[in-house]
C-alpha cells in the first residue's frame, strides 16, 4: 500500500489552469493519479486535459466527491485557496508554492489541525505513491514501487536519492517532500505513525538537511515504533548563519549542524550515510 495518497484519494488541482499548473496536471494524469477535477475561480465549466473545472472547492466536493487537493496557486494566493479547501472538507492539502508568507502557513496549519486534514508543504515537490500516482512536481521515472517509505526536506536531492535507490533495485511505498520552509504543515516526525501503520513499508529513508530540529524530533518519534530507518543529511560544509537556499536550511552557531543531527539520529539507532551513494548499502545493512 502507501500512505495518504492511496486508492481512495480523489484529488483536485487548484491553480491548474495556469501555464505551470496545466503542464503539471497533464503529467500527474499520465502518472496515473486519480484526479477528478480542477478549481479556478471564474473558470468554472472549462475543461483541463479532460477534467471538469469548477469555480469553488465546495462545488468539486459536491459534484465529483473530491477529498484531496494539490495547489499550484502562487504564494500571495496560497492562504485563501488552502483555507477554502480545508473548509470544504478536503483531507489532504498539498501546497507546492515557494515564498509563502509564514503567517499564512501558520493559519493554514491551524485550520488543518482543527479539522484533522493533513497539509503537506509549502515549498514542496509533493507526494508520490508509485501505483497511485503523484500530487506534485517530482519525476515519476526514478520512483519504483517498493518497500521503503521516504521523507525529504529537499526536492531535487530526493530525486537523486530515489534514482540511486532504484538503480540498486529498491523502491518506495510513498515519498513525501515535507517542504523546505522553516515552518511547514506537517513535519517529518508526524509522518512516522502513518508509515509504521502501513504493512508494506518495511523501513524509512530520510533525506534531511541542516537547520531546525526536524531530524531530532523524527529520531524521538521513531523510538515509539518498530520502523527501522536510515538517513542522509546535506549541508555538512555549510557555514553557520547563512540561509542555504531553503529558508529552513539555516543553522545557528549552536544548533542544527549535520554533526549534531547525525549524533542524535545514530544514538536513536538510525544509520546515517556519509553520501547519497552509500545509502543502498546502509539500507541493506540496517533495514532489510
Amino acid at each position: 500500500m502507501s500512505i495518504l495518497l492511496t486508492s481512495s484519494t480523489r484529488a483536485i488541482v487548484q491553480g491548474g489552469t495556469g501555464r505551470i499548473g496545466a503542464r503539471q496536471t497533464e503529467w500527474m494524469l499520465k502518472a496515473g493519479t486519480c484526479l477528478v477535477g480542477a478549481v479556478t475561480p471564474g473558470k468554472g465549466g472549462a475543461d483541463l486535459h479532460g477534467l471538469p473545472v469548477f469555480d469553488s472547492v465546495g462545488e468539486a466536493v459536491e459534484r465529483v466527491q473530491a477529498n484531496a487537493s494539490v495547489s499550484f496557486v502562487p504564494g500571495p494566493h496560497v492562504r485563501a485557496a488552502a483555507l477554502e479547501a480545508v473548509e470544504a472538507g478536503l483531507r489532504l492539502i498539498v501546497v507546492i508554492a515557494e515564498h509563502v508568507p509564514v503567517y499564512d502557513t501558520l493559519e493554514i496549519r491551524e485550520a488543518c489541525r482543527e479539522s484533522g486534514a493533513v497539509m503537506i508543504g509549502p515549498n514542496t515537490p509533493g507526494i508520490i505513491s508509485p501505483g497511485f500516482g503523484k500530487l506534485g512536481i517530482m519525476p515519476v521515472n526514478v520512483f519504483s514501487p517498493g518497500r521503503l517509505g521516504m521523507l525529504s526536506r529537499s526536492g531535487t536531492l530526493a530525486y537523486e536519492v530515489a534514482g540511486i535507490l532504484q538503480a540498486a533495485g529498491m523502491g518506495v511505498t510513498t515519498m513525501v517532500g515535507v517542504g523546505g520552509d522553516p515552518i511547514i504543515g506537517t513535519d517529518m516526525a508526524e509522518f512516522v505513525p502513518w508509515f509504521a501503520a502501513d504493512p508494506d513499508t518495511k523501513g524509512l529513508v530520510v533525506v534531511g538537511e541542516i537547520g531546525g530540529t526536524q531530524e531530532e524530533r523524527l529520531a524521538a518519534a521513531l523510538a515509539d515504533y518498530d520502523l527501522p530507518a536510515c538517513a542522509y543529511i546535506a549541508g555538512r560544509t555549510a557555514p553557520a548563519g547563512k540561509r542555504m537556499g531553503h529558508a529552513g536550511a539555516l543553522m545557528s552557531a549552536k544548533q542544527g549542524s549535520v554533526a549534531q543531527k547525525t549524533e542524535i539520529l545514530e544514538r536513536a539507532g538510525i544509520r546515517v550515510a556519509a553520501s547519497p551513494r552509500l545509502l543502498p548499502a546502509t539500507i541493506r545493512e540496517g533495514l532489510v
Binding site: G75, Y103, Y159, D187, T237, K242, M244, R277
Partner: protein
C-alpha cells in the same frame, strides 16, 4: 529582513504603541537642532542592526548642546561590532519608574509563535530566572491568550498595570500580524510616571516572503546597502540562494538539497566550494547564463560544478544558458555539468556539442569525480 530601531518604532506608533518623541539624524549639527526641538535631556542611539547596543557603547545621554555635539561626533562614523554607524536616533529621554520586557517571536525550533513577557526589562531575557518570564504559545488565528497574561501579572503583583500591559500585548500583536513580523521585541518598555507604557527600543524583523504586501518596508529594503556586489547581482537575477564561501570550485545547482550535497561531496573529494548557488524553480536560458557568469566572476576559481535537475525547470533552456555563458567567455577552467530530468537527451546533446564536459548520470559524485580528474586532484 531586520529593521532599524527607528523603522520598528514607526510601525509600533502606527499600531497605537507609545514611543518617545524622536528624530533620525546623520550629522552632529542635525543632532543638536533635533535635541533643541525635542528638549533636554536627550538620548542618542546608534542605528545599527542587532541588540546589545547599550553594552557596546552605542547609546549616550546628553543634557546640553555641547554634550550632544560631542556624543554625536563620537558615534557617527565610528563602528559598532563591525557595523558602521551612519545615523543616530535622537530621542527625548522619558523619566521611568520601572522597566518591563515584551516580545513576540516566531521560533523555528518549536515551529510556534510565542509571546514573551517579563516584569524585569532592560536586560537580555535569556538571562532572567524562569519564574520571572511568561512564555505563551500564540495560536495565530486567535491571538494571544490575554487571560493567561493577566493571571501571570497578578502573581507578579502587577495588577495595577494589568490593563496597560494587556493593551500593549494586544497592540503589539496587531502590529506583528499587520506587518508580518517574525520578531517584535520591546526591551525595555518604560513605565512612565503617570503609569503609561512607552516603547524605549524596537527590535523588529519582517518576513521577506511577505514584503510584497508591505510597500513601505520593501522600499526601505531596496535602499539598503548591506550586501556584497555579487550578492546584490544574485538577488537581481532572482536566484533563490547565493552564499559566498572561500574555496576554489564554483557551484550552480537547481535545488537547495542538491546544492548542499554538491558542497559536501566536493569537500569530501578534496575540493573546496567557492559558493553555494540555488536557482529556484524559474529557470530560463538567461537566468542560467547570468548565474554561471556570476559564479565565474568569483576570483581564484579552478573549476565549476553545475548540478541541475529538470522537473518544473526546463533542461533544454538551462543547457542553452550554460552554452551561451561558456561561449561568450574566455574559459580557462573546466565547467562540469550533471543534468537530468525532462528533455535530458536533447540538453546533453547541446552541452556535448559545445564541448562542455557532461555527466549523463544521476549521481552527483560522478560529476565531482570527473571535475577532480580534470583538475588533477586525487580523491
Amino acid at each position: 529582513m531586520k529593521l532599524h530601531e527607528h523603522e520598528g518604532k514607526r510601525l509600533f506608533a502606527e499600531c497605537g504603541i507609545a514611543v518617545p518623541a524622536g528624530k533620525v539624524v546623520t550629522s552632529a549639527a542635525e543632532a543638536e537642532s533635533a535635541a533643541r526641538d525635542l528638549g533636554y535631556p536627550v538620548m542618542l542611539k546608534a542605528q545599527v542592526l542587532g541588540g546589545g547596543r547599550g553594552k557596546a557603547g552605542g547609546v549616550a545621554q546628553a543634557g546640553d548642546d555641547a554634550a550632544v555635539q560631542k556624543e554625536a561626533r563620537r558615534l557617527l562614523g565610528s563602528s559598532l561590532r563591525d557595523l558602521r554607524i551612519e545615523a543616530l536616533l535622537v530621542e527625548r529621554r522619558v523619566p521611568a519608574r520601572g522597566e518591563l520586557y515584551i516580545s513576540y517571536f516566531l521560533d523555528y525550533a518549536s515551529e510556534q509563535l510565542w509571546l514573551l513577557f517579563s516584569s524585569s526589562g532592560g536586560m537580555e531575557v535569556e538571562a532572567l530566572p524562569a519564574d520571572k518570564v511568561l512564555r505563551l504559545p500564540v495560536a495565530v488565528r486567535r491571538g494571544p491568550d490575554l487571560a493567561a497574561l493577566r493571571s501571570f501579572l497578578e502573581k507578579q503583583g502587577l495588577t495595577k498595570l494589568g490593563r496597560a500591559i494587556g493593551q500593549l500585548a494586544e497592540s503589539l500583536y496587531a502590529c506583528v500580524r499587520k506587518n508580518d513580523l517574525l520578531l517584535a521585541e520591546i526591551n525595555p518598555v518604560l513605565i512612565a510616571s503617570d503609569g503609561s507604557l512607552v516603547a524605549a527600543d524596537a527590535r523588529v524583523e519582517v518576513d521577506d516572503n511577505a514584503l510584497y504586501r508591505h510597500e513601505g518596508i520593501a522600499a526601505a529594503k531596496a535602499s539598503r546597502r548591506d550586501k556584497s556586489d555579487r550578492e546584490a547581482r544574485a538577488e537581481a537575477l532572482g536566484l533563490n540562494g547565493f552564499v559566498e564561501l572561500d574555496g576554489e570550485v564554483g557551484i550552480l545547482a537547481s535545488g537547495a538539497g542538491l546544492g548542499m550535497a554538491s558542497m559536501d561531496l566536493l569537500q569530501a573529494a578534496g575540493l573546496r566550494p567557492a559558493n553555494f548557488l540555488e536557482t529556484g524553480g524559474r529557470i530560463t536560458a538567461d537566468l542560467v547564463q547570468g548565474a554561471l557568469d556570476l559564479v565565474l566572476d568569483q576570483p581564484g576559481l579552478r573549476g565549476v560544478l553545475v548540478n541541475l535537475y529538470g522537473g518544473i525547470n526546463p533542461m533544454v533552456e538551462a543547457a542553452r544558458g550554460l552554452v551561451a555563458a561558456v561561449r561568450t567567455r574566455d574559459m580557462g577552467i573546466p565547467v562540469v555539468v550533471k543534468l537530468f530530468g525532462n528533455e535530458q537527451e536533447e540538453a546533453w546533446g547541446l552541452l556535448e556539442a559545445a564541448g562542455i564536459p557532461t555527466v549523463r548520470g544521476i549521481e552527483t559524485e560522478e560529476a565531482v569525480e570527473k571535475l577532480a580528474r580534470l583538475l588533477g586532484v586525487r580523491s
